[in-house]
């Protein structure tokens, strides 16, 4: 059935309104933590000062909300607030990396839907886990380098300085931010009109901010998916047997449009399962999705109080772009995720316990145990 034109216009306007609400939510989160005061919020992030614990938090938070966009936007909001309660950039970097790992659980779950169909499941599971292996490999290579050199942080702070004209993390103003602040003030006033004040108001507005971020991203994704479904279909048809470069571009564009890498990667799973898309052609689209999803963080940084929000958003961009470049230019690295995914899928086809062990182990048990152990030895 043809979609009426008024519906298209309505959905477009709705997306713009949701984008505005999303920026309000990010700013509201930051201002809420700031309003909590140092005593309450100061120790909030002490527990994740260990980079591996921060990585685990990033994985678990993303698995929990099933959206790396929500996790990264929240992280950007927390890093980009002014005052002493801001999430330190150094702590946020592994969390962002963890979000990249956590987001891959969605398409792995999608692939489990094919579990009773032998070869079909094998192809679906390989398509889902190739993204996992890529992201895990990127973290395995780049986290130690980052811990040793701080290269991602330094380069993003440097670029932030160039883009904003300040490298000190100082506050900067923009018309968007002014419009966002007006709405934030209205929400805070609204909560205070119930006779609340101080830290209680801050906690409530923080909850509103987190909830609004989640809802806005979910509805932006939902509406954009309807609006651009025809375009997505055309792009995927074009990417079926084309070069890797086209696949990467298709992955980037679809993900920017729907604001969700999970949507992009989950679309590929049934296509791989049916055998119409090969694993080696799906892989570049997934890498593109990784790059495309960084736009959410950049959008969120438009609403943060300081340029540190932009810095962590740029860390996300650098991490994914460098990862993609590394894996595309080094053939051995490029082959690894595909072979690992095919190997695991073959095992999973033979015994479904491999699936259970893999999903539970990689996305829940290891991050949780890692976090608890690192916390206990702190």
């Amino acid at each position: 059935m043809t979609r009426p034109r008024f519906e298209t216009v309505f959905r477009l306007l709705l997306v713009f309104a949701l984008l505005y609400a999303f920026l309000v939510a990010i700013n509201l989160m930051g201002s809420s933590i700031k309003a909590m005061g140092k005593d309450t919020a100061g120790g909030m992030f002490d527990g994740i000062s260990n980079p591996f614990a921060a990585l685990a938090v990033g994985v678990l938070a993303t698995v929990l909300v099933q959206s790396s966009s929500t996790t990264t936007a929240t992280i950007v909001g927390l890093v980009g607030q002014s005052g002493p309660n801001a999430l330190p950039l150094a702590t946020a970097v592994p969390m962002i990396m963890g979000a990249n790992i956590g987001t891959t659980i969605t398409n792995t779950i999608v692939s489990i839907g094919h579990v009773r169909q032998g070869q079909e499941f094998r192809r679906a599971f390989a398509a889902a886990t190739v993204h996992d292996f890529f992201n895990l490999s990127c973290v395995a290579i780049m986290l130690p380098i980052e811990l040793a050199t701080g290269a991602l942080q330094k380069s993003s702070v440097w670029l932030t300085g160039i883009l904003s004209g300040s490298s000190s993390g100082a506050e900067f103003e923009s018309p968007i931010k002014a419009a966002v602040k007006a709405a934030v003030k209205a929400i805070v006033n609204g909560v205070e009109s119930f006779g609340l004040s101080g830290q209680i108001t801050a906690v409530i507005t923080l909850i509103i901010g987190i909830g609004l971020t989640f809802v806005c991203l979910a509805y932006i994704t939902k509406n954009m998916r309807v609006l651009i479904s025809g375009t997505v279909e055309r792009a995927l048809n074009n990417a079926l047997e084309k070069s890797a470069a086209i696949g990467v571009v298709v992955g980037i564009l679809i993900t920017i449009a729907v604001q969700s890498s999970s949507i992009t990667t989950s679309l590929l799973v049934p296509m791989c399962a049916a055998g119409v898309l090969s694993l080696s052609n799906a892989f570049p689209i997934m890498i593109g999705a990784n790059i495309g999803t960084t736009v959410t963080g950049l959008l969120a940084s438009m609403a943060t109080e300081t340029t540190a929000g932009l810095s962590i958003a740029l860390v996300h961009v650098f991490f994914n772009v460098i990862g993609a470049t590394l894996f595309f230019t080094v053939p051995a690295l490029r082959r690894f995720p595909i072979r690992a995914a095919e190997g695991l899928a073959a095992k999973a086809q033979q015994n479904v316990l491999w699936v259970v062990a893999y999903v539970f182990g990689v996305f829940i048990l290891i991050p949780m145990l890692g976090y608890l152990i690192l916390q206990s030895v702190k």
Partner: protein, 219 residues
């Protein structure tokens, strides 16, 4: 003005267009193959054209299947009925090409064909069938239910005639009728497949390929 936000229907229309191209190719193959088998030309003169067209039909069918998977993945369950119908239609269109190849095989293998008035009768059936393939193309585009019902009646009548002719040929003893019997069988099958395509205009998905108003014993 370009459509910046195309919906699922625009892609589905394009897929229907590809299916119609398959049908058009099938008609071309049918006309080419039957002209050689009935007029007695050299089969080798049409071989390349016939097989190239067949390969194009097969490739279009495969391409459509891939596109159907993508369409279903992107648009979800709401697209499934249309895709299941299209899957069935493309199979029918592809089979028409296959039967044209079988008809070509009769000419290639030197199957005996009748002469005189008998040949004229076969040619008349072929012409009707060829016109039905053209009509089916237009009907599918227009989705005209009344014309579709008339078409199905015509298809049933043609199939009955082929069946009746075959029965009569079993009584013939003075000549080799194997080629004629096979040709009539192939005509019947082509008529059946093009009829199946047209049922999609008038019956719900679960009744696809079953002709409305025709006794179950004949389905």
């Amino acid at each position: 003005m370009p459509d910046w936000f195309p919906d699922s229907s625009s892609r589905l229309s394009e897929m229907h267009q590809q299916f119609l191209e398959m049908l058009q190719d099938g008609r071309h193959m049918f006309d080419t193959a039957t002209s050689v088998v009935l007029a007695g030309g050299d089969p080798e003169t049409i071989r390349d054209d016939l097989f190239t067209t067949d390969q194009r039909i097969n490739k279009t069918e495969q391409s459509l299947r891939r596109e159907m998977v993508v369409h279903g993945t992107v648009h979800g369950t709401s697209s499934f009925p249309a895709l299941l119908v299209l899957m069935s239609l493309t199979k029918d269109a592809e089979r028409i090409g296959d039967y044209a190849k079988n008809i070509f095989g009769l000419a290639r293998d030197g199957a005996n064909m009748p002469t005189g008035s008998r040949l004229h009768e076969l040619t008349e059936i072929r012409d009707r069938l060829s016109k039905m393939l053209v009509r089916a193309h237009g009907l599918f585009q227009q989705q005209d239910e009344v014309a579709a019902k008339t078409f199905i009646d015509d298809a049933v009548e043609l199939q009955r005639q082929c069946e009746s002719e075959v029965s009569k040929l079993f009584q013939v003893e003075d000549r080799n009728v194997a080629g004629e019997v096979l040709l009539l069988r192939f005509f019947k099958r082509v008529s059946s497949h093009v009829g199946n395509i047209i049922t999609s205009i008038v019956v719900p998905m679960d009744k696809l390929d079953f002709y409305p108003g025709v006794p179950e014993s004949e389905q």
